[in-house]
């Protein structure tokens, strides 16, 4: 799943006929000033200014300001740009018009195993979470399109009356079109509002999750996906991602500050079992990592370099199951080169290395690892006869 920031998310909704407030995404006050000259609405409307970054709880951090005129919005922009929030520096703000409204509603579309669920409620904002029973659901099977009647029935079920039934049905229909055509996995508008003195439903705030795997058929996805865990990617994480995008197979790396057990296991499945074992033994993970699909040795070397560069680590877990087709000797060659490089840079002092692996050319690979002992590494090597996660038990033994 790939998270999309508000700006591009609203852009996609607009594309599918959903009314969104006027908005601009700017990177400087100058830009906003210039846009102010060119756009009537920026002068006339009350405005909302929000940091346009993958951050949770922006309200609490003071990164959302409401009810501003253009001058105040410019001041807020100036204040927000460049501000540090955790590891993220605010580089963009989104300025949008405030929509005066009375009622708030809710609409979401989500992927399920059987197909797609369309969710509608006649309450919105924080009210939805406390009134989840008021959310009504229309379940669509894979490949099925919702009919007008079904959508109107859904709106009625959710408690809409009169002309709002048709409006909400149409709104939900457009949400579905957007979801279905854009390979979305989750779309949520909360709240949906009705502008005072007008009769149009507007999407005030949107959560957009797209299927990153479908990027190949969406040439107009010209935006970057946002990090999913409320912080920006670190330099090392981005370097590994850059390698990952270039190679056959995969290498993955996520830093977890404060941990002392470094992970360098093989396989998307086994890597999580290894992480579980560390946690179960009371260890503290310093990172998540994984390589699989017979990646080239240089890619594994880059990954190893990043793992060895983690601060304050005591153990490195080079775990792995019995591989199907990943060449153990070749991938271990990359790890060994990475270890040697780290050692020459003065890293790995007092760090214990634990190895367990099987698969094509396992004997050659494990022998090469064992030979590292002669080069001064504190390394313990086990073969398939040692159960998968036992090296974690040995490493974390008090």
């Amino acid at each position: 799943m790939a998270k999309v920031l508000e700006g591009p998310g609203m852009g996609l909704m607009k594309k599918w006929g959903i009314t969104v407030p006027h908005y601009v995404v700017v990177t400087s006050v100058d830009e906003l000033e210039k846009l102010g000259h060119a756009n009537e609405w920026l002068k006339k409307s009350k405005l909302v200014v929000k940091a346009h970054e993958a951050l949770g709880s922006r309200f609490k951090l003071g990164l959302v300001k409401v009810g501003l005129d253009l001058k105040e919005a410019e001041a807020a922009t100036k204040e927000m740009i460049g501000r540090q929030a955790g590891s993220i520096t605010v580089s963009q703000v989104i300025v949008s018009e405030m929509i005066p409204h009375k009622e708030e509603y809710y609409c979401a579309v989500k992927s399920t195993r059987e197909g797609t669920d369309i969710l509608v409620a006649n309450c919105g904002g924080i009210e939805v979470e406390s009134n989840w029973s008021r959310v009504k659901r229309l379940t669509m099977e894979v490949g099925q399109q919702p009919s007008e009647e079904a959508l109107e029935r859904l709106a009625k079920d959710a408690g809409f009356h009169g002309p709002l039934v048709k409006k909400m049905a149409q709104f939900a229909g457009k949400m579905f079109s957007c979801f279905d055509s854009e390979d979305a996995q989750y779309l949520e508008v909360n709240p949906v509002v009705l502008r005072e003195h007008e009769h149009e439903l507007i999407a005030l705030d949107a959560v957009t999750l797209l299927d990153g795997d479908a990027k190949f058929r969406h040439p107009d996805w010209n935006f970057a996906f946002a990090a999913e865990f409320g912080r920006a990617y670190s330099k090392h994480e981005m370097e590994v991602m850059a390698v990952d995008s270039k190679i056959k197979g995969s290498v993955k790396f996520i830093e977890i500050p404060g941990g002392d057990t470094a992970m360098l296991p093989a396989g998307g499945g086994a890597s999580v079992y290894y992480s579980d074992a560390v946690v179960a033994r009371g260890g503290k993970l310093a990172n998540y990592a994984e390589y699989s699909g017979d990646p080239p040795d240089w890619a594994v070397e880059v990954l190893t370099d990043k793992v060895c560069s983690l601060p304050g680590i005591k153990n490195i877990i080079v775990g792995g199951a019995i591989a199907n087709f990943t060449d153990v000797k070749k991938t271990f060659g990359g790890i060994i080169n990475g270890f040697r490089k780290a050692q020459s840079e003065g890293k790995l002092k007092g760090v214990k290395i634990w190895v367990r692996r099987g698969g094509p050319r396992e004997k050659e690979g494990l022998d090469a690892m064992r030979a590292l002992k002669d080069e001064g590494f504190d390394i313990n090597v086990f073969d398939r006869n040692t159960p998968l996660t036992d090296i974690v038990d040995k490493a974390l033994q008090k």
Binding site: M1, G56, S111, R113, G115, E141, V142, G143, D180, D183, Q185, D211, D213, A214, F216, R217, E228, F229, G230, K252, I254, I256, A266, G267, G268, G269, A270, S271, V272, Y273, S275, D276, A277, V278, V279, A280, L285, Y288, E290, S292, G293, G320, A321, I322, A323, N324, F325, T326, G358, G359, P360, R361, R384, P387, L388, T389, D390, D393
Partner: protein, 606 residues
């Protein structure tokens, strides 16, 4: 027995290189269990009509490549299974093509990164048709002793170690491809091995879930227990738990779930497979899954490491209740023939080499000439003539000798467009022929009458010097045995019109104060012959020959100096004609003396 894949499973593989690699692995398994190769066809339009040669034992099986699944099944009606190795952007089309073919009952998609929507559409289409769509991102399916689909099971040695050559009693369903071998191995070490192991893929919505396969295992009497390797995210494990609790099941269910580490990670931080994503309110978490499985009576070891002992315990119970018997291991198993390389490495075979070389070797990271690395020669200031010395005479020539060789090459690099060699190249170039062939056309001209006298001249001058012959004796010997002296005589040059190149070369060599017996002898010969006829002078071939013999080059290499030097000129002529875009040329009639009979009537054929 087994599920999904068995002795009657025959396969078409859709895709390119990855599919061929899988076929090789599948052939190894077929060889182990002594069945013929179960891959009958490939579908890969760019190579349609060709075959892939798949090693089977010590031989090769030619598997045809077709442009469509329909064409493959028409030619091989036994095909009932397709493996999809097509790229993510075209995988759905390929999967649909396979599902829509009436012969095909099972489609397993190995492709990773398939859009979720496409996977759902494929899964639904298969259900509608009553077929099985497994994957995407599946590592494959293997039924012990009968059928392997994909690379699951790993290398040949691992197939044997994991006892995949005969049936056991445990079914395996796993999202993780990397762990499939681990579980198969564990089942073979702690119990009697597997019946069928299925990789369902780590995506959020695999085409077929645990429950469908659990139903199949429940109906397979050979399978006594099923091991599920789960992951956080989605609700497939919960559904499997409910299935197990819904009624009394014949099979025992064992399960492990990963993702407990999530509980102690910073909020929102997720990793693992695409499907390993926790839903709202803790649903899909490792804990909710393992709780559900336990609740409905499945055996759920606390850690992955405890899975082996749990499987062992289950197996012991099955033995005790008589539901399974200790398996009988075959006494002899086929051994995968080694490749020549492997056998040589293990000192098991001796191969008589086909050729022998004494001059160069490029098996390392760079070529070595007579043992010297090329880069080191460059960095220590050696030049082209030294490389010639190393490769033609296996010796590192001196700086002075190199200078002589260089001058010889410069003097004979070209001799204008009219000589046989250049003309040959130019005619070819004008006919639109490529560089190497045109240069070859010029080189072909080098022989006894053009440029090719160097070797012979060297040989005879050396013969005379070695045998201490006088010039008169030498000329008499030549006249009697061989004819004109090679290296003496020129078509246009003469005493009055000397060849500047000869003068230049002789002058330089003589200035060096080195011993030049052959050159001295050749010049003596010229003194006599040029008196007889003034164009019987020492020509450039003869001069080169004498000098090269004097500095120690073997007689057989001498023509090489002319060939090498003149190649520079011939390449120049070809490039020159090419750049001018020269027209095709032919001789004018007036340049031909037509001496053939006049036109006459053809007599009737007898």
């Amino acid at each position: 027995m087994s599920i999904l894949a068995n002795k009657d499973t025959y396969v078409v593989i859709q895709g390119g290189v990855a599919g061929v690699n899988a076929a090789r692995r599948m052939a190894e398994f077929c060889y182990l269990i002594k069945r013929s190769l179960n891959v009958l066809a490939f579908v890969y339009p760019p190579d349609a009509g060709k075959t892939h040669e798949i090693p089977y034992g010590s031989g090769l099986v030619a598997v045809p490549i077709y442009k469509s699944v329909a064409e493959a099944t028409k030619n091989h009606p036994q095909i009932n299974t397709s493996l999809v190795y097509i790229g993510a952007d075209r995988a759905m089309k390929g999967g649909m093509e396979a599902l829509d073919d009436s012969h095909i009952k099972v489609v397993s998609m190995i492709t990773e990164g398939v859009p979720e929507k496409d996977a759902k559409i494929l899964g639904r289409h298969a259900t509608k048709l009553g077929k099985v769509f497994n994957g995407p991102s599946s590592i494959g399916i293997v039924s012990a002793g009968s059928c392997r689909l994909g690379v699951i099971g790993g290398a040949f040695d691992n197939l044997v170690l994991s006892k995949l050559y005969r049936e056991g009693s445990f079914g395996v369903i796993t999202k993780s491809g990397g762990l499939s071998n681990e579980i198969i191995w564990i089942c073979s070490q702690f119990a009697d091995g597997i019946t069928t192991a299925i990789g369902i893929g780590g995506d959020t919505y695999p085409g077929t879930d645990y429950v469908s396969y659990l139903d199949m295992f429940e109906n397979d009497p050979q399978t006594k227990a099923v091991v599920i390797v789960g992951e956080m995210g989605g609700d497939l494990e919960e559904r499997a738990a409910e299935w197990y609790g819904a009624k009394k099941r014949r099979v025992k269910l064992l399960a492990v779930v990963s993702g407990f580490c999530q509980e102690s990670l910073p909020k929102g931080m997720k990793f693992g497979h695409a499907g390993a994503k926790e839903g709202l309110k803790g649903e899909g978490s490792a804990r909710s899954k393992s709780d559900a499985l336990k609740k409905y009576g499945a055996i759920v070891p606390a850690t992955f490491g405890a899975l082996g002992p749990a499987i062992k315990e289950t197996y012991q119970e099955l033995l005790k209740s008589g539901q399974v018997k200790e398996p009988v291991e075959p006494t002899v198993l086929p051994k995968l023939p080694k490749t020549i390389e492997e056998a040589m490495k293990a000192d098991e075979v001796m191969v008589a080499p086909l050729i022998r070389t004494t001059i160069s070797d490029d098996r390392g990271d760079e070529p070595c000439y007579d043992g010297y690395p090329a880069s080191e020669l460059i960095n220590k200031g050696y030049e082209i003539p030294h490389v010639v010395g190393l490769l033609w005479d296996k010796r590192l020539i001196s700086k002075q000798e190199a200078e002589i060789v260089k001058r010889i090459m410069m003097l004979s690099a070209d001799h204008g467009p009219c000589v046989s060699g250049a003309l040959g190249t130019i005619i070819a170039a004008c006919a639109g022929i490529g560089l190497s062939q045109s240069v070859a056309a010029g080189l072909i001209m080098i022989g006894p009458r053009f440029g090719g006298a160097v070797t012979d001249a060297g040989r005879f001058f050396k013969y005379a010097v070695d045998n201490k012959m006088s010039v008169d004796d030498f000329l008499a010997y030549m006249k009697k045995n061989h004819g004109p002296v090679p290296g003496i005589g020129h078509r246009v040059k003469s005493l009055r019109n000397p060849d500047k190149r000869v003068k230049e070369l002789v002058g330089y060599v003589k200035s060096l104060n080195i011993n030049t017996p052959c050159l001295d002898f050749a010049l003596e010969v010229e003194k006599i012959t040029s008196v007889k006829k003034d164009n019987l002078i020492l020509n450039v071939d003869g001069t080169m020959a004498a000098v090269l013999v004097d500095i120690g080059f073997p007689v057989d290499s001498l023509n090489g100096f002319f060939i090498l030097s003149r190649t520079i000129g011939l390449i120049g002529h070809w490039v020159d004609q090419k750049r001018q875009d020269s027209r095709l040329i032919r001789l004018f009639d007036y340049l031909v003396n037509y001496a053939a009979p006049k036109r006459r009537e053809v007599p009737p054929l007898k």
